[in-house]
Amino acid sequence: MKITIEILGKGGDGTQTLASIIGEAAILENKNFSSYPVYDAAVRGGASNAYIIVSDKEILNTVAEKTDITIDLNSEDENLKIDDEFKKNKKLLGMFLVGAIIAKLLKKESLITAIKNNVSEEYYLQNIKAFEAGVAAGTTEK
């Protein structure tokens, strides 16, 4: 298995945190992982994307060729029913989409552990709620 994931967002949306979460979850399942950001010079509001590879084998070239999965925080996924409370907050939208898309690829438990390690305690519950809602929406995808 070698899967390339693309996360598209803007500076401040939490795209790089999502990459860290996917990475940590991947190594919990003894998979290899690589990720690199592609971002603009602005701290807030500029493009901030991440290209992730998760693989069972050693990853030689970490440069993404074609993407298998896209998590796009810039536009709405019409196949998913997303609650308004998650749509308003890009960080929560990210968690929702990780639940809906990545939880099919990596174990839910690994992702929850990774979220715990990457999100401050204050926002943990909020994030897990979004993640769980995403998992539920993912299984009932249109």
Partner: protein, 688 residues
């Protein structure tokens, strides 16, 4: 930090697990690191205990990690005012015997070049990281490239300026391993090692296993021998601050460290030393092969008809292309260059039979030009990309396919052998017309500082008087050969310190305070005395001066203020009084200010800096004095005592009898000069 113990040097092993536990890192297997983080950990594991750096994308996580971890290891971290200061401090720490590193990106690297040349001339081991990004100037700051290869290898002035080692990691894991190797190489060969880091790797995160154990080389320290190499040999190291009277500087010097500015043979010998040293590095590594990491990795090369040569992150695309092309039955191999400079025919000669050499680079083709020396140009195809994006395997693979299809060149029967410079001429060392001080590598008896050589200043020069008065006052103030380091700059004022028998660092122009600060940080037990002129300290070194005063560093500065640039012919400096005559004739010019036409002088020379107001009133320094030679003795003693508590600055009004004083006798009369004199100190505000 306590006085560093001098160890005899050589190889030792470091257990990584035990070492990282000191930093609070428990796991060494399957951990996620970015290239920048791996570099910081590699540096610390290799023994780096000093880091000075200025923040710049994409290298910024390196200083962040160094600032976090160095205090845990009793090391020092400093973020100075600019890139030049960072490089100077890194040099100074190395002169103290401490492994040091700095990191930057292209724009910062350009600024550091002057100081790196100084490092090469003094054969100091330091490691410099250049995380490369695309474009000239600011370019696209977040977009990766390998675009600084030319400037890293050959960007410094003067022959011998390319006596450096350049490494290029290909993965996050190698960011760790090659940083360790960078320190080992710099310590082993006493030369700066620059890591040409693909900007892509800076921010690439990967899960990696760190090695259980690494081997680390510490620079060789012997009780006997000269401090600098000769004839390509690596000398044993002599640190600053151990009372040995060693002198480091930017001028051409003999093996004893004597400054030689007027001797053709020594000039020739020194340049040849650097070239021979550079040429000896690869043969030495090959000889000690079991000690070194594989710096020229070959992949599927045994029967290859085609070869891809690559470095940096591109090497992984090359390996993957080889893997894919082999499946199609194409006999292709890959040579990964992890050391980009120096190069040697020993690495390339076995590939000279290849049908085609494809050189893949993330730039417009920089290293390939150096490879033409080893391969006939017709056999080389260059794959390049300059879009601020890393190279995809498919891109390189397709290029290779096309090249192989188009390959119509026959293997040239006549191979031109590469032109390797051979230096066989024997030179008998002569030291005529030079300083006569013979460096004995003995700890000097703890004694007052004395003159070691003579220098003829112009008749009546104030600097000559200062020198005598300073040595007497320094003796009274308790300065000895063991507890003092003298930092000298460039220009007439910079000469004074280099005539003393003491540990002396003569820096590049304007950079004295960077070396002074680093030494004070690492060796607070030492008296750090800066002696230089107004042009050196206030003009070109103005930024460093301002910030050293702001930081209230406990050092003493003697600014021999002769109101002009004496050594270069009397040009005006920042302290030249308004309206005075200098060697630059000002034309009255029409200036426009706020829309009004006014007539005046060129503004940069018409408003001298009032140092007392700037430092004492503006920056709250501990001690400030302006003085002529009268009363200087007492002021020197006081300044040295006061510098124990903070920044101490003495403006010594010293007459330039050849230029300024001669042209402006009315401005240097006793009465006029005394108007400026005074002592301003924090506890005693009466004089203010």
């Amino acid at each position: 930090m306590e006085k560093p113990r001098i160890n005899p040097g050589g190889w030792k092993t470091v257990n990584i697990k035990e070492f990282l536990e000191k930093l609070g890192i428990k796991n060494i297997k399957n951990i996620i690191l970015s290239g920048n983080e791996a570099i910081a950990l590699g540096a610390l594991a290799a023994g780096c205990r000093f880091y000075a750096g200025y923040p710049i994308t994409p290298s910024s996580e390196i200083p962040q990690k160094m600032a976090e971890y160095l205090p845990l290891l009793n090391g020092e971290f400093f973020q100075p005012e600019d890139e030049i200061a960072a490089m100077g401090m890194t040099n100074a720490a190395s002169a103290c015997g401490i492994k040091s590193m700095t990191a930057t990106s292209g724009p910062g690297f350009s600024l550091k070049q002057e100081e790196i040349d100084w490092t090469i001339n003094n054969e100091l081991p330091v490691v410099i990281i250049d995380a490369m990004r695309i474009g000239p100037s600011t370019g696209q700051p977040t977009k990766p490239a390998s675009a600084d290869i030319n400037c890293i290898i050959n960007g410094r002035h003067g022959d011998g300026g390319n006596c450096v080692i350049v490494l290029s990691p290909t993965s996050v894991k190698e960011c760790f391993t090659l940083t360790v190797e960078a320190f080992n190489l710099s310590e082993r060969f006493r030369t700066p090692v620059i890591i040409a880091l693909d900007g892509f790797l800076s921010h690439l995160s990967q899960n990696i296993d760190l090695p259980e154990e690494i081997t680390v080389f510490d620079r060789i320290y012997k009780e006997k021998g000269s401090p600098f190499g000769l004839d390509g040999n690596i000398a044993s190291f002599v640190p600053i601050g151990h009372g040995k009277g060693v002198s480091y500087g930017g001028l051409i010097h003999d093996e004893c460290g004597n400054r030689i500015s007027f001797n053709a043979e020594i000039a020739e010998k020194t340049i040849e030393h650097f070239i021979k040293k550079q040429k000896s590095i690869i043969p030495a590594i090959i000889k000690e092969q079991n000690k070194w990491y594989n710096l020229w990795e070959e992949y599927e090369t045994d029967d290859c008809e085609y070869l891809i040569a690559a470095y940096g992150a591109t090497a992984k695309a090359a390996q993957e292309s080889v893997m894919n092309l082999r499946k199609r039955g194409i006999k292709i191999g890959c040579l990964t260059l992890k050391m980009l400079w120096p190069l040697d025919d020993k690495i390339f000669k076995r590939f000279r039979y290849a049908q085609k050499i494809i050189v893949a680079e993330l730039n417009t083709g920089q290293l390939v030009k150096y490879l033409y020396e080893y391969f006939p140009k017709l056999l080389v195809a260059s794959f390049n990309k300059w879009r601020g994006e890393p190279i995809k395997t498919s891109e390189l693979e397709n290029f290779c396919k096309n090249i192989i299809q188009e390959q119509k060149c026959k293997n040239l029967a006549m191979m031109t052998s590469p032109s390797i410079i051979s230096l066989t001429k024997e030179i008998s060392p002569k030291n005529e017309g030079a300083e006569t001080y013979v460096f004995k590598n003995e700890i000097l008896e703890e004694a007052p500082i004395e003159l070691k050589g003579k220098y003829s200043f112009c008749p009546g020069c104030g600097h000559q008087s200062f020198s005598g008065i300073f040595l007497r006052a320094a003796k009274d103030a308790g300065l000895t050969t063991k507890n003092t380091v003298i930092i000298a700059g460039i220009g007439c004022g910079g000469i004074v310190g280099t005539t003393f028998r003491a540990d002396v660092i003569k820096t590049s122009h304007g950079r004295t305070l960077n070396y002074a600060r680093a030494i004070k940080m690492l060796r607070p037990d030492l008296n750090v005395i800066v002696i230089s002129g107004d042009g050196d300290l206030v003009n070109i070194g103005g930024n460093h001066l301002l910030h050293t005063a702001r930081e209230k560093f406990p050092i003493t500065i003697f600014c021999l203020d002769n109101k002009n640039y004496g050594m270069t012919g009397g040009q005006p400096s920042a302290t030249t009084p308004s309206g005075s005559k200098t060697s630059i004739f000002f034309q009255l010019k029409n200036l426009f200010y706020n829309g009004l036409k006014i007539i005046g002088l060129i503004p940069s020379h018409s408003h001298p800096l009032d140092l007392k107001k700037l430092f004492y009133n503006g920056l709250d320094v501990e001690f400030f004095a302006t003085t002529t030679m009268i009363g200087l003795n007492e002021i020197i003693k006081k300044a040295i005592t006061k510098s124990k508590n903070g920044f101490s600055f003495v403006q010594v009004l010293s007459n330039c009898t050849t230029y300024f004083a001669k042209k402006n006798p009315e401005l240097v009369s006793k009465e006029i000069l005394e108007r400026y004199c005074g002592i301003w100190e924090r506890e005693n505000e009466n004089n203010d």
